[in-house]
Symmetry: C2
Subunit: 215 residues, 2 copies
DNA sequence: ATGCATTTAAAACATGCGTTTTAATTTATA
DNA sequence: TATAAATTAAAACGCATGTTTTAAATGCAT
């Protein structure tokens, strides 16, 4: 006997899948409620507004992911000496952990994160900083320790490049994996993209800053 | 005497600025026609549809950018031996050239490119491949020559990570530059972001592929 | 200057959105 | 079981969108 799923959960489950696939703005409440097989008005009844629903979807992931990431980072920091790549490897366990909570959890979460930034959802950024600002700060600090030669400004920019590459890889992930499979006859599992990503990110962050004169 | 600007051009100019700022979907025809000081219906009269307008906006840039990039790549390839960073430097001149055609050209173009991918405008991808597929192929080939150790699959993925980081840097560029200026008291010009980006990208592409075991 | 084609203007159309309202129904409590 | 609260259902609201239609204005040949 499958345990009864509440209307809230039905909505959250349908919403997160559609959000990760299409983005927040592109997904309508009617799509969500149809998929969830609940009444249209129940979204506003249970969550108040679409904006609050988006926040609830993200919160469900962040509440699992952030503490887990914090643990990993603190564990690494305790070793005293580490590389950039090891810092990024701290993301592996928290991500795969979410796969046990919810199938396709890692992919969903990263896609959601991607759209959250791509669509410049100011309220999401605010929410994240408010609830998990200390984890973000820890991440920045740890990365800086691994790269003391980088100025704070340099690190700021590179970290956002990292975010961009990550987000993009997830958002266009399904389409890309399809093309890759067709062109190279090699299927790449969703959670293996991270294996390709981490070396790239670490290489980018570790790059020398000296700029050869163009032209 | 400023030369008379046609309705088409007024629309294109207003549209590209708004698209680059807000994205394609978020920008309404009413916004565009108000900004351009033309009638609402003139967009559909001159361009047929919003989708065609988006394509026209992109085409105006691509027709300048792509041939210029092709020239740079061919010039580099003729030298016989080159680094990844030199390949990415090939983007500098074509980008800055567009600044002479239109003020803020480089930033606008990269932002547009960003939204084109972020919003998964299938028709734009098709258009680009149809008209400039050979330049894309040349870029891939040149990058592969600079990195013969990378398999085609590896290069495929890394090139998309590159695209993601680039796109993201541009799309969230204005907001990021603002934060950077506030946090570090250092204003960064829009076209200087590329100076920070290229080392990162080259470092990422050049990274070793061996993956240390996680955990 | 006249007549025709092109372009602009104003209004309406059809559709989809998030949200609200009202009533019916289910659930829980006393 | 009776009553109150919580939830679901159905419909409509107000608004914004891209597009189309119809008429007026303009440009440009003859």
């Amino acid at each position: 006997m499958a345990k009864r799923i509440s209307t809230q959960e039905k909505i959250l489950n349908a919403a997160e899948a559609l959000f990760a696939e299409q983005g927040f703005e592109q997904t309508s409440l009617r799509q969500i409620t149809t998929e969830a097989e609940v009444n249209l008005a129940s979204v506003n009844y249970h969550f108040g507004s679409k904006k609050s629903l988006i926040q609830a979807v993200m919160a469900r992931y962040l509440e699992v992911f952030m503490p887990s990431l914090q643990t990993e980072l603190e564990q690494l920091a305790a070793t005293g000496n580490f590389t950039t790549r090891e810092v990024f490897n701290c993301f592996r366990k928290p991500l795969s952990d979410m796969g046990q909570v919810r199938k396709h959890g890692p992919t969903l979460f990263l896609s959601l994160l991607g759209f959250a930034y791509a669509e410049i959802q100011g309220h999401l950024r605010r929410y994240t900083m408010e609830h998990f600002g200390d984890v973000i700060a820890l991440l920045l600090e740890t990365l800086h320790q691994a790269n003391p030669q980088l100025s704070p400004v340099d690190m700021f920019w590179r970290l956002h490049f990292v975010l961009g590459a990550t987000v993009f890889a997830q958002v266009s992930g399904p389409a890309l994996r399809e093309i890759a499979a067709a062109d190279f006859g090699e299927a790449v599992a969703a959670d293996q993209v991270i294996d390709r990503l981490i070396p790239f990110l670490a290489g980018g962050v570790d790059a020398t800053t000296d700029t050869p004169v163009a032209q």
